[in-house]
């Protein structure tokens, strides 16, 4: 008699569960297995049991009370509050009778969880509700608030989606996994429109779906046969929130996609922030955005956040594991285990190989890895960045000099990533008196992005995490950081005032408030513009960096005028979120195990070519610098 995968899992669970513990219902929610029980407290009481069951069925397991098995909210609430130390700082407590879960949002979630999750178990045992814990951000973030509120409002719809997705993931496979292919929909011999299909006879997964900075019309080749029908993709995986990886992801939902988006929790919130801004910028510039904000909400509803290190089934023949990539908050190196040992593929996403102030360096240690799809942003022979110490020194010197001349410093920066790194450098230098304390203005979404960082300190380096969690030491809360929230008028006031540092988006000078700063500060030779991040071909940032000084400029009256830049233009290379050539080589050199094949992507033609040749010569692995729209067989 044939049984379904769920029936088989249920039988395994029942066989290993003592008879006095009830199992009312077993269901998949996305990659997770949910057990409903009328005796959830007994599950909680046997501290090792859930772990054992998870090991047997190789799934993450959540136990929820079956209907009626828990105390009423009115009864449960005071008990829960009493069981949690007051220091935890509960800011929200919400009951969901449909699933028997209670959401606890607190300033110090660790105190809610307790040692070895003991408090959580106590709560479950005492009141029957299954607690779910979230951190209250130490800096208020409207993004985090809105995303969480939105997901809570759509909790029922979301559960249906998760159950449907669970069935899809755990379906009976129709085909043997006898090949693995990668199709390049973008990001080959160019920086931008990252998008790849990972494909087996059984399943199809899209990795990233970005735009191309400086070339709005050049979008991923979603029309390729390999990507279609979009609606039938098994999964979408997002390596990190930057728009060149995420901008067009909501478009998939417009094309009929209705499946899961896997990413980290931090990336989920950051991508929402950046995508909504992307729509905003497009409409301000008079372009028709490719999708509406409704599609961002659809995407959020379909996002399944995964933690680093969690091995997760995302298709009948594919397991996904995220690892820290060191590039920006929540950025992930993605490891795909395909076909029960058949093949393993690692997508590096964007990586930083060395530790930085914000993050540990990218993980490059895997159980197995035959193919590596790797970024090559700084893959050219001479793409050497100065080291962190030297870079910081150079930056501080430039700020000091500009300050001494009475000038102002403007730094175009991605809202997410480099801005926070610079904030840490500047805060420390001012605190320790290396440079004079002066205002540091944050323009664009930098403050909001910073708040999101503080909401997910798990993704940051240990020391920094600890400081953030102690309010009086949180470096991001230093007084000199001031949000530019007064529009053009405030910018004019600042520009006419004393020396200061301005961090402003967009990072490649393709639009946003940096355009106003160009106009206000660009004409004065006493001011300095400092590039600290990668400037893609075709962006205004790249052309200013390369020496262009006459730039066309849209006046407020929308006439185009010419602007002559007279300020000093400098570049400091060591703050990039990307590994330099040495870092990229180091990532492969120390990678364990050494991959057999490497596809070099996410770099200009010279960078991917030179890096591909170098890897081949140095490590004797098969390397390629693919073109867009190609399909490689990996096995």
């Amino acid at each position: 008699m044939s049984t379904t995968p769920l029936e088989r899992v249920r039988a395994d669970i029942e066989a290993e569960t003592p008879d006095d513990i009830d199992i009312s219902r077993v269901t998949f929610e996305g990659p997770e297995l949910i057990i409903y029980s009328s005796t959830p407290e007994k599950f909680a009481a046997r501290s090792g049991l859930i772990g054992e069951l998870a090991g047997t069925v190789r799934k993450r397991i959540t136990v929820r009370p079956a209907e009626g098995a828990q105390a009423s909210p009115a009864e449960a609430k005071p008990k829960i509050v009493e069981m949690i130390p007051e220091d935890a700082g509960i800011t929200n407590l919400q009951f969901y009778p449909e699933t028997g879960e209670v959401l606890i949002e607190a300033e110090k979630p660790g105190l809610v969880i307790g040692r070895h999750a003991s408090t959580l178990r106590d709560i479950q045992q005492e009141v029957g509700w299954t607690p779910e814990v979230l951190r209250t951000p130490p800096m208020e973030s409207s993004t985090v608030d809105n995303v969480r509120k939105f997901l809570l409002e759509n909790r029922d719809e979301r559960r249906e989606f998760l159950e449907r997705t669970g069935e899809q993931i755990h379906r009976e496979p129709m085909h043997e996994t006898d090949y693995v292919r990668i199709t390049t929909l973008g990001c080959c011999r160019e920086v931008g429109r990252a998008s790849f299909i990972l494909n087996t006879p059984e399943s199809r997964i899209l990795v990233d779906c970005g735009d191309k900075p400086g070339a709005e019309g050049e979008v991923p080749y979603l029309q390729l046969e390999e990507a279609n029908p979009i609606a039938n993709l098994d999964a979408v995986v997002l390596t990190h929130a930057h728009l060149d990886h995420s901008a067009l992801l909501p478009l998939l939902f417009k094309y009929g996609y209705d499946g899961p988006v896997y990413t980290t929790q931090a990336t989920r919130d950051l991508m929402g922030l950046l995508q909504l801004d992307y729509l905003d910028v497009a409409s301000k510039e008079g372009r028709t955005p490719p999708y509406e904000s409704e599609m961002v909400r659809e995407e959020l509803k379909h996002t399944i956040p995964l933690d680093y290190g969690d091995v997760t089934d995302i298709a009948p023949d594919v397991k996904l594991t995220f690892h820290n990539a060191g590039h920006i908050l929540g950025s992930a190196v993605c490891h795909f285990h395909v076909g029960d040992g058949f093949h393993n593929v690692v997508f590096s996403g964007d990586i930083h190989y060395e530790d930085t102030r914000l993050f540990n360096g990218a993980v490059n240690d895997f159980p197995r890895a035959e193919t590596l799809v790797m970024e090559s942003t700084y893959g050219k022979r001479n793409d050497h960045q100065t080291d962190q110490e030297e870079s910081e020194e150079k930056l501080l010197d430039l700020i000091q000099e500009t300050h001494d001349e009475g000038g102002q410093v403007v730094i175009p920066a991605f809202a997410v990533g480099r801005s926070q790194e610079l904030m840490l450098v500047l805060e420390e230098a001012m605190r320790e008196g290396e440079i004079p304390t002066m205002p540091i203005y944050l323009d664009g979404m930098i403050r909001e992005a910073t708040a999101i960082h503080t909401a997910y300190p798990e993704f940051l380096r240990d020391g920094l995490r600890d400081r953030i969690l102690h309010e009086d030491e949180n470096p991001f809360l230093a007084d000199q950081f001031q949000q530019v929230d007064g529009g053009r008028e405030m910018r004019e006031d600042i520009a006419g005032d004393d020396p200061c540092v301005i961090l402003s988006t967009s990072g490649m000078v393709t639009g946003g408030p940096i355009m106003g700063w160009l106009e206000l500060l660009g004409g004065d030779p006493e001011n300095t513009m400092i590039f600290v991040g990668y400037q893609a071909q075709g962006t205004l940032g790249r052309s200013i960096q390369s020496g262009r000084r006459e730039i066309p400029f849209s006046d407020r009256g929308s006439r185009t005028k010419q602007l002559t830049l007279r300020f000093d233009v400098e570049s400091v290379s060591g703050f990039s979120g990307h590994a330099d050539r040495g870092g990229l080589m180091g990532f492969v050199e120390t990678m364990h195990p050494r991959p057999e094949k490497i596809l070099c992507v996410h770099g200009d033609e010279d960078a991917t070519d030179q890096f591909s040749s170098a890897l081949y010569q140095e490590f004797n692995v098969r390397t390629h610098a693919p073109k867009n729209t190609e399909t490689f067989r990996l096995d």
Copy 2:
């Protein structure tokens, strides 16, 4: 005001046609333009007009009488007969009022056509019917008869198909042709299951769809995204009739394909013969064939034959031209001109580079050719074949020796190709007394395949064509050729009789009558088996050639017994239908223009690898030895 492509063509035609010539209707039939006129005789009278119009609209043009514009068949028939010289040998004269065409089948079609087509024009002028001329095969061929009869019976349905296809080909394109891709569905690092997709943003074309000799389960990867939906392919192109290129083509119609198959007329008939035999062999061996014979008929109905050299629109952005490939009758090198000068791709199909007795060497001269997809059967470093003279000498020596010892020679041969080459060698050698005249038995479909050769002498070398057309010199009609048409009993009689030569299918000893000959002749050391063609990996032919002498054998009672081969096993390399390593290199060396990129396919892994490296080193072109299921971007 927007107009359709057909309306634009019609306007061009009308602008260039004198007012006294009527144009009732203009329509596409497949790639051709059909003009219906109530004054067809005036078209015929202006001998240069149709050519000029064809030049203007860049289409092949056929003029047909509009309904009522022609004499009644009863009236027309005697007039036509009178206008054609008696020597032409008319064997069939048939009127098709629906299209105003009259089919004339004759032994000497040249005499029907007349000098510069003057007789054809006279007929059109005199009776108003448009003549269509076919050659009556000099040897009776049931295949040619059946195919022609079948197509005539389905003439109306076929015209509808052609009109529908014409509309598809000449549709308004929806996409700019800004890339060209090739997907390998088979035939990479292996010999067999030839099948490729040529793909632009606008159109998708399948080239070949073969089986893999010796590995029935390994069929082309038709399930790949790039091939689907099969029903929406723009065109299927067949390079030649051998089953490793054609066997699974009818399957496409089972999968819902309803579009054109482009190939030469000779290939059309040969593929029908071989595919029906393929079904026959499968069912005899107890395998379930992947499709029914009905699908072969569907395929024939959808076949649009093209002559060598005809530049033909097969999609809005693709023109196809066939050229002689020298491999077997009707075999073609396929030149694809994509996107009005955007890119040119040549598929070599299987080629023979040097002239042989049957065919001129493969054409390698093209207006443009950036990418070459090339066979590599004999691509290994040491894949040298002896030259024709030496090979013939060796073959004749072996036959002489076997004859002198009273033994018999059995040669496994493809029905199509090498058998006819050998027949020419043996007939000449016996006629000139180089070896004793003895019976040459043709077993399997060799005689039928030979008859098809004589039906299409245009595909053969000049001298041979002339001889075939003079009955008393037709080498294929020599007395010593005897058909084995008496089954097992006849084989037993032959095996017990005097020295002789037996040509028998299948060419790779994978089934068919050769299996009977193994059993009857294999045990006697006085007999000789001579391999003259390529033996693919996994075939019994390859294993016998490599020294295996104990072979399992299905008895008539279907028990498996062991057969020990004691006869002499020899190989003579120079008769292959394939270029050897030198020939392959020569094809590229003298190819005009030199391609920029070469994909080496249709060869074992060693052959494609070594050939790819050699081409790169010798000619400094980009070369690849692809895997199956990969997709290359060419531009």
